[in-house]
């Protein structure tokens, strides 16, 4: 076959080869679905038949389903391209882009198709391309808004009577459903915008390929380029703040609907005496809290056990050190942890008391010295001036300073050399003299 072959002849050749390929089916008979009237039958019917060969029980059936989903779109585009080529036999080059855009497979490759049967239905009676669809959706939304608002208004009316609680629940559920539909419509309009952007990007990418050496020479190349364009357009919208708002609102609205439905189911279940999801969740939550608490306490007990063992080990170590230090000199610092004999304890106590008394004695001597000075000044003053009645220091009334200081000094000497018992006798003797 050469480039100058008539495309119609090419199409006939293609059909013949298809028949030959399909004759490899088990039994050697051509299945009935092989088109007898040329290439008018959609190739996706062929895919459907191919998939049916595997049944639904084989482990590979999931893979087959996904091949179907992807390959049907690709085959549809392939068919349209071939049809465009055949339609322009001998004339101007076919408009590949228009052929692609009008194909069922192309529609299946656009983001708005996913999970969106409404827009797909609108596309089918809106004509090819998405240019008018988005505007139609916008017009539909604005036309439907008053209707939705009226419905919401009705649903906001207060309820009366013994069933008012149930009625209000039903009203809230209905309002949640309307809200969900509104948010879904917003989302769908955004997806249509993606499709528009995808077409525009694809045209730009095709324009870039007009340079010599960059032209696309295979169907797969065209398909991959289209996927690139569609993904870029989708990413641009999916990363936008508008999408963030729309998507968040859609999910929240969906959850509200689900929440209301679940609540109704629980109410009915409760009336019928059937355990509800909420009740089981409550039990689960409490159980998990108990498990945490138990685990924490068990770990704390393990920690206490470890600490107890450590303390016991330390006690043994201290005891070992004490017994080891009992054989060492007193100057050894460890001697301070050795219990002293009682006599030594008494001696030590007395030594402490003696040192305190010495300190007080020294203070008394200093005080006596001062009194002596005061007394001598007073005596001198008495000689040189009329007698003046004065209040004298207490110590001077009872005893002359000199003898007291001498007593104190003697006391200090005695206590320095005498043990505690003599010190006591000295104090008593001094008290008796007074």
């Amino acid at each position: 076959m050469t480039d100058t072959m008539d495309f119609a002849q090419w199409a006939r050749n293609w059909e013949a080869m298809s028949r030959q390929a399909m004759s490899s089916f088990p039994g050697g008979t051509t299945p009935a679905w092989i088109p007898q009237d040329g290439m008018q039958r959609q190739w996706n019917e062929g895919m459907t038949q191919w998939a049916r060969q595997f049944g639904s029980g084989a482990p590979q059936s999931d893979a087959i389903e996904r091949v179907m989903a992807g390959a049907q779109g690709y085959l549809g585009m392939l068919q349209s391209m071939a049809a465009a080529a055949g339609g322009h036999a001998g004339g101007a080059p076919p408009s590949w882009f228009d052929a692609m855009k009008g194909s069922a497979g192309f529609a299946a490759s656009t983001p708005s198709w996913f999970n969106n049967p409404i827009t797909e239905a609108m596309r089918s009676f809106g004509g090819s391309g998405a240019q008018g669809i988005e505007q139609m959706m916008e017009r539909f939304a604005s036309a439907a808004a008053p209707m939705f608002n009226d419905a919401k208004g009705m649903l906001s009316m207060p309820a009366f009577g013994h069933l008012r609680e149930h009625q209000e629940n039903a009203q809230r559920s209905a309002k949640a459903l309307i809200e969900y539909q509104e948010q879904m419509a917003r989302y769908n309009r955004l997806m249509l915008k993606v499709s528009e952007h995808a077409f525009a990007r694809f045209q730009l990418k095709l324009a870039e390929r007009e340079e010599p050496g960059r032209q696309i020479d295979s169907m797969r190349g065209v398909y991959d380029l289209w996927i690139d364009a569609a993904e870029e357009a989708y990413a641009e919208v999916a990363l936008s703040e508008e999408f963030r708002d729309v998507y968040g609102a859609l999910v929240n609205a969906q959850m509200h609907v689900r929440e209301h439905v679940q609540r109704e189911v629980e109410r009915i279940s409760s009336d019928l005496g059937i355990p509800t999801r909420s009740e089981i969740d409550t039990i689960g939550e409490r159980l998990q809290a108990l498990r945490r608490e138990f685990r924490d306490e068990r770990e704390a007990s393990a920690d206490i056990g470890a600490l107890t063992a450590e303390v016991a080990a330390l006690r043994e170590e201290v005891a070992a050190m004490k017994s080891a230090s009992a054989l060492k000199p007193v100057s050894n610092v460890l001697a301070f942890v050795r219990p002293l004999p009682k006599a030594d304890v008494a001696l030590a106590s007395a030594s402490v008391r003696v040192s305190r008394k010495r300190k007080r004695a020294a203070q008394a001597v200093a005080k006596a010295g001062k009194l002596k000075t005061i007394a001598s000044k007073a005596k001198h003053a008495a000689k040189s001036s009329p007698p003046v009645v004065k209040t004298k220091p207490k110590a001077a009334r009872t005893k002359a300073p000199g003898s007291f200081a001498a007593s104190i000094a003697r006391f200090a000497r005695e206590t320095r050399s005498e043990p505690g018992s003599k010190f006591v006798r000295a104090i008593k003797s001094k008290s008796g003299k007074r």
Binding site: F7, W10, Q60, A69, G70, W96, Q215, I227, R292
Partner: protein, 354 residues
């Protein structure tokens, strides 16, 4: 000049080839066995509720003195790191002499509805680390955290730095508010409390749909058009089916853990900005003073590179290394290039800090 220059012969050839592949696929798909995963032998060393900690057995005994515990994400199954013979991070690490352990979180069900991040990090993960340390008779271990598991490992290492010798993070999100983070953008206006209170555990199917919608055209369609090209190659087909199994074999997410992860990580970005608490423990990445190796993928659409790179500015260690891998979020584990580059890089880094 027309950008499309498809010769009829070429178009016919493409169509015929496509058809031949489909016909051949009818035969091969009937013959291919159910795919298996996890090629490396392993022993269970610790079990708690649905969690199991495994130690992998290589062809020879490990030479590394410090064991390495792989902490995977909750959102997928961890056998991705040991998917098949020629695509196994575990196998390659064992071949380098590393002593490799792994946490298998299991499949949460409704009984796990009330597991919190405190239960996972201060509970399961802490006890698993202690179990590995006991098993290996060491004081500290190495941790290799992957994706969400890397975020958990960062939290753990900041709370218990005395338990971690070296920390490796792979494709780990740290800054959840980078402009190119699509998942984060989608969660910002979601009411996390309403979502979890209503739905309870987050179904795996919902999580999978969310991931697929990050690149819907490629992942719903183009991938399967490409699959037709390998329908006549049994080995390639089995590899493809094995990946498919892993992608869609996802666990449900425990409700409370998901709530906090969405609220504090995705919406609040507290791991990066600060203010994150796990139970009663504060998380401060400045407490991470052990050596850190941060590996990320340059074409990662799930965890953008900038999200991982942000770790450099917030971690407390002075021994920080980062490696940018040319590939995607999954390719960093399963591509041929990854098998050649990543395990040796990890081993060399660990060996220098043994």
């Amino acid at each position: 000049m027309d950008p499309i220059r498809i010769q009829p012969a070429r178009l016919l050839d493409e169509a015929m080839t496509f058809q031949k592949k489909l016909v051949a696929g009818m035969k091969v798909l009937r013959e291919v066995d159910d795919v298996h995963f996890g090629v490396t032998a392993k022993d269970e060393i610790h079990r708690e509720d649905k969690l199991v900690v495994y130690r992998f057995r290589g062809d020879r005994a490990p030479t590394a003195k410090t064991p390495t515990l792989i902490v995977y994400a909750l959102v997928n199954r961890p056998y991705m790191v040991d998917l098949q013979e020629d695509k196994s991070l575990v196998r390659n690490l064992l071949a380098q002499g590393e002593d490799v352990y792994l946490i298998d979180w299991g499949y949460p069900d409704r009984a796990d509805r009330w597991l919190t991040l405190d239960d996972y990090i201060n509970g399961y993960l802490r006890r698993s680390v202690d179990a590995v340390a006991r098993h290996a008779a060491v004081e500290k271990i190495n941790i290799l955290g992957i994706c969400q598991g890397g975020a958990f490992s960062l939290c753990f290492s900041s709370i218990y730095p005395h338990k971690v010798r070296n920390l490796i993070t792979m494709v780990t999100p740290v800054d959840f508010h980078t402009p190119d983070n699509m998942l984060s953008n989608w969660t910002r206006k979601m009411d996390a409390d309403l979502f979890v209170d209503t739905i309870g555990n987050v179904p795996a199917d919902l999580m999978n749909m969310c991931y697929l919608m990050l690149k819907p055209m490629r992942l719903f369609q183009q991938k399967y058009v490409g699959m037709v090209d390998i329908l006549d190659d049994r080995k390639e087909l089995e590899n493809f089916l094995r990946m498919e199994k892993w992608i869609f074999d996802s666990p449900d997410q425990a409700g409370e853990a998901f709530r906090q992860f969405m609220r504090d990580f995705y919406q609040g970005n507290k791991l990066f900005k600060g203010g994150l608490t796990i139970g009663k423990k504060d998380v401060d990445l400045k407490n991470i003073t052990m050596p850190v190796l941060n590996i990320f993928a340059e074409q990662d659409h799930l965890v953008p590179p900038d999200s991982s790179r942000a770790l450099k500015g917030v971690v407390g260690t002075e021994d920080y290394t980062q490696i940018a891998f040319k590939g995607g979020h999954i390719g960093i584990y399963v591509s041929g290039r990854a098998q050649r580059e990543v395990p040796p890089a990890i081993h060399e880094w660990l060996a220098a800090r043994a």
